[in-house]
């Protein structure tokens, strides 16, 4: 039985799935641009590390570049298991949200 994804994990996976040339900076920027929430590079990487450890994403090192101060890029891509997990989470959310009018909901 596959595990469920946390909210931030889902967000990161969505970003990895959609961003071209997905690496730390582009992933973080995509999240900030779409959700409007500030996230730290550290938080993105620790989540990516965790997702990688669970076999949901894969990563590889690129070449060092001068605009990065001579540091290498770490690229990411979605793995099949990751795509499945994301699809399941998304499905679950949509199933739960169906027919809901948040403004009219009991609180």
């Amino acid at each position: 039985m596959a595990e469920w994804l946390g909210e931030f994990e889902q967000i990161v996976l969505f970003a990895v799935a959609q961003v071209e040339d997905a690496y730390g900076a582009t992933i973080r920027e995509a999240i900030e641009a779409r959700t409007g929430r500030q996230v730290s590079a550290g938080a993105v990487y620790t989540t990516l590390d965790r997702l990688e450890a669970r076999g949901l994403v894969a990563s590889w090192w690129g070449d060092p570049t001068p605009e990065r101060g001579g540091k290498r890029k770490r690229h990411f891509r979605l793995r099949a298991a990751g795509r499945d997990a994301l699809a399941r989470s998304w499905q679950a959310l949509r199933a739960m949200a169906r027919g809901l009018d948040l403004k009219a909901a009991k609180s």
Binding site: G24, Q38, S40, G42, Y45, D49, R72
Partner: protein
């Protein structure tokens, strides 16, 4: 723009290599793009990213998500408890150190929590009433700008015109007499406008609140009592509402009982311990209708959303209007007011602030002192740590160990400090002058205790451990190879630093205590104009139907004078309408015959005393000119008056007042001839010079409230009981109250300063002892560190004086530096004492010199043993041991 090196370095230290590289690369890219827009913004962004990333990585690591094996909560705890057990063992191994450290810290914690609690209750807590934050104390200004009294009709006008207040309530003291078989007891009560409790937002627990219809000359005989009065005086009887009480043959009905939660703070501040309230019962056309009268206190409640400033602005406008309407009656500047909470805190604000400052210094000295001990210990344990490091303990683990030790010390001190704080507060409540509001209300504040403990813990870590840690990781080989536990120069340096601070602070506190001592000394050596020693005083009041005729009062007073004078041991006996330092005053306008005054309000004010002839002999007030009163100055004789020196000097401007005629108390009063001039007495306080004073013979000016004074041989307090019994035997309905010797009244008048002096002295002593111990430690450590050097020097032929100088040199410099810093700080801090001082400059050379001298003596004492040790070094032994 490149990220600063520090940022990259931090990332490398805080993250594993790969993560650091990836993040550093990303941030470099990001900061470049942002710097193109704004360098400053880019910088802020970068640092936020770095900090947040480090935190995120740390959290992830603790969760065990990445890399390291997950550490279970159990393991973490077992590590901590292991640390604690280890710390306890280490501390047990050096009991002298542990006891000294815990004792020192607990004094600091206990004292600061106790004083902090007192200050918090007295100065910071909101008033204990639902509407407490809107209550204002309001009135015409006194000469010194403080809030003074108002008259009844004025309040009616204010109430009608000042919309800034939704309630204005008059308060005044009320002492009805409860007459019983065994004598009369004055009850401490308060008369208030009917809306008083409504203004406070307080509802009676039983019965009803006052109604507007109660507050009327014909209907005011209803009372509301406190829960305490109900329980103590009425045995908590259930049918209390509707019950009656007889005061001086007047019958009052109890209409309400306040809830037990009612805090009488506001009553306490103005009139002492009050347990009963009655409506004021004035009417606009009664005795109190005069607009120039000023005899009531006024409280107000600001309308919601109105500020005090706005209210006072409106008050000024209303006052200006009234002044236009009644120019004769409102000559003073506009009304003044302050929040009731500030008014209540006012008397003790400065003393408590000073004490709070002092106690924080005690805490500082205590923590630095123990920090010094910790440094010495850490230095001495270099080998132990090196050994443990060699056996595989991580550096972080060793640091954790040290921190745990500090915290164990602080916790032990916290327990002891809590006890000390409790005792301290109990002692404060017992011995402090009664003017510390709410001191008796609750035990030491746990939040403040916690704060003191945490502060101490932080101070210990900051002062004690950081220097040890910053001096670097232990040099394993070096430490293991070293033959004796010698202190590192760094650790000695940091201790010396702390020492200088301690000396400075100790000097500051000693100087503060010295200044207060000098002040009290100066005050008590002031000549008050009368001789207090050997005199007893007691208040009597003549109220009720039996005493409506002046002749009845006079007859009783005459008889009482005869009877008291006949008591064995009584040398002189007199009665007066008021006495100096009696906590009371009676000022009236003086009209000198032949002079023109614009109005009554323009007449100069004098203090008015009505006295029996023997008053001057009893109080030993000097006659300067003319004659005193005699038994011939009777009701139907010539009307006479005495004035004091100041009155003669200022109101007659050098001319001889004797033979001139004066009138006090308005147009209707008759003129009296001045027959003599007597010496000044200090009426309000020892530190306050005399105002113009005027004496009338009591026979010609009957007083229904008098103070009996008797000069006796032997102990005056022994006469309290016989005098009380005598009065009761003569008239059961005349209460005797406020019995005290004049010496006691003198002491009371300086009580708040004595209190400040005592506590500052105590704190000064504590810091002095701590500084001495600390100094001894530093000098000893210095001598031990130079053990070898001393040995070599002795071997090379150094004299004893050279060696003593070598041992003492450093310490002398330290003390000199500390004393210099302390003197500088004292002259600044002395200003804080400001108003508490009397004829003593904050920079009083004798006090500051004395304080410096005391510290030097302590310093010398601390040097004796280490120097002797240095002199006792045997070069042969020292050199061989290497």
């Amino acid at each position: 723009m490149m990220p600063p090196r520090l940022a990259l370095w931090l990332l490398e230290r805080g993250l594993d290599r790969d993560a650091a590289e990836a993040i550093a690369g990303d941030l470099t890219e990001g900061v470049r793009q942002r710097a193109a827009v704004s360098r400053a913004r880019a910088g802020v962004w970068l640092w936020r990213q770095v900090v947040a990333s480090l935190v995120a990585a740390r959290i992830a690591r603790r969760r065990g998500a990445v890399g390291e094996p997950r550490q279970s909560v159990g393991q973490f705890l077992s590590g901590t408890s292991q640390d604690a057990r280890f710390a306890l063992r280490a501390l047990r191994r050096s009991p002298a150190f542990s006891v000294a450290a815990v004792a020192t810290l607990s004094i600091g914690i206990g004292a600061s929590a106790a004083i902090g609690t007192a200050a918090d209750r007295a100065l910071l807590r909101p008033l204990p009433y639902p509407t407490g934050d809107r209550l204002v104390y309001l009135g015409h200004p006194n000469d010194d700008g403080t809030v003074g009294n108002v008259g009844f009709v004025t309040v009616l006008d204010w109430r009608a015109r000042m919309t800034a207040f939704d309630e204005l309530s008059i308060i005044r003291s009320w002492t009805p007499t409860l007459v019983a078989e065994d004598g009369a007891t004055p009850i401490n009560g308060m008369k208030v406008s009917w809306n008083f409790f409504r203004m406070l937002g307080v509802q009676p627990a039983m019965g009803r609140d006052f109604a507007a219809s109660d507050d009327d000359p014909d209907h005011w005989r209803v009372v509301i009592i406190s829960d305490t009065t109900w329980r103590n005086q009425f045995h908590a009887r259930a049918d209390i509402v509707g019950a009656t009480i007889d005061f001086n043959s007047r019958r009052f009905q109890v209409v309400g009982v306040l809830p037990p939660s009612f805090d009488p703070l506001v009553a306490e501040h103005f009139f002492g311990d009050v347990g009963i309230w009655a409506p004021l019962g004035y009417s606009a056309d009664g005795d109190s209708s005069c607009r120039s009268c000023r005899h009531l206190n006024l409280l107000g409640r600001l309308r919601e959303g109105v500020t005090l400033r706005q209210a006072l602005t409106q008050a000024a406008t209303v006052h200006a209007d009234l002044r236009r309407q009644y120019p004769q009656d409102y000559r003073e500047p506009p009304p003044v007011g302050l929040m009731l909470a500030d008014e209540i805190a006012r008397p003790m604000r400065r003393p408590l602030q000073v004490l709070l400052g002092a106690v924080l210094f005690v805490l500082l000295v205590a923590s630095t002192n123990v920090a010094g001990l910790l440094i010495a210990r850490a230095a001495g344990r270099g080998r132990e740590f090196a050994l443990r490091a060699a056996l595989g303990a991580g550096w972080a683990r060793l640091v954790r160990q040290l921190v745990t030790e500090a915290l164990v010390l602080a916790s032990a001190a916290a327990v002891l400090g809590t006890l000390l704080a409790r005792w301290g507060l109990a002692a404060l409540a017992e011995y402090a002058p009664a003017s510390i509001p709410r001191i008796d209300r609750a035990p030491a504040d746990p939040a403040l205790l916690l704060l003191a403990v945490v502060t101490t813990g932080i101070a210990l870590v900051a002062f004690g451990l950081l220097p040890a840690l910053l001096s670097g990781r232990p040099n394993l080989e070096g430490a293991l190879r070293a033959t004796r536990q010698s202190a590192s120069p760094q650790s000695l340096r940091s201790r010396e630093w702390l020492m200088t601070v301690q000396v400075a602070v100790a000097l500051l506190l000693v100087a503060g205590a010295g200044l207060m001592h000098r002040t009290v000394d100066r005050l008590l050596s002031v000549d008050p104009g009368f001789r207090a020693h050997g005199v007893i005083s007691a208040g009597l009041s003549f109220a009720g139907p039996r005493w409506t005729e002046d002749s009845a009062v006079r007859a009783f007073q005459d008889a009482l004078v005869q009877r008291v004078r006949a008591m064995p041991g009584v040398e002189h006996m007199a009665m007066a309408s008021q006495i100096p330092l009696g906590g009371n005053y009676d000022r009236r306008g003086l009209h000198i015959e032949g002079r023109t005054y614009l109005s009554e309000a323009d007449e100069p004010e004098v203090e008015h005393y009505s006295v029996t002839p023997d008053y001057f002999a009893t109080m030993q007030i000097a006659l300067k000119q003319g004659r005193l009163f005699t038994d011939a100055d009777v009701t139907d004789g010539d009307l006479v008056v005495l004035v004091n020196d100041t009155a003669a000097r200022t109101l007659w401007a050098g001319a001889n007042p004797i033979g001139t005629r004066v009138r006090i108390g308005g147009r209707e009063a008759r003129f009296r001839t001045v027959v003599g001039v007597v010496g000044d007495v200090r009426h309000y306080a020892l530190g306050q010079p005399a105002a113009p004073q005027l004496y009338l013979p009591m026979r010609q000016d009957t007083a229904s409230y008098v103070v009996l004074v008797a000069r006796v041989s032997g102990d005056p307090s022994a006469y309290a009981r016989p005098i009380r019994q005598l009065v009761t035997s003569m008239a059961r309905d005349v209460p005797v109250f406020d019995v005290a010797t004049l010496d006691q009244r003198l002491d009371r008048s300086v009580a708040s300063r004595t209190f400040l002096m005592f506590l500052l002295g105590l704190f000064a002593l504590a810091t002095l002892v701590m500084a001495a111990v600390g100094l001894y430690g530093v000098v000893s450590q210095g001598v031990s560190a130079r053990h070898r050097e001393v040995g070599i020097r002795i071997a090379l032929g150094a004299t004893r004086r050279d060696i003593a100088w070598l041992a003492a040199r450093r310490g002398i410099w330290l003390v000199a530096a500390g004393v210099t810093a302390g003197l500088g700080a004292s002259s600044l801090a002395g200003r804080l004492l400001g108003g508490q001082l009397y004829e003593t400059a904050p920079t009083d050379p004798v006090v500051l010199g004395g304080a410096a001298g005391a510290l030097l003596l302590v310093a010398i004492a601390a040097h004796v043993a280490p120097i002797r040790r240095a002199l006792g070094v045997d070069p042969a032994v020292t050199l061989k041991s290497e």
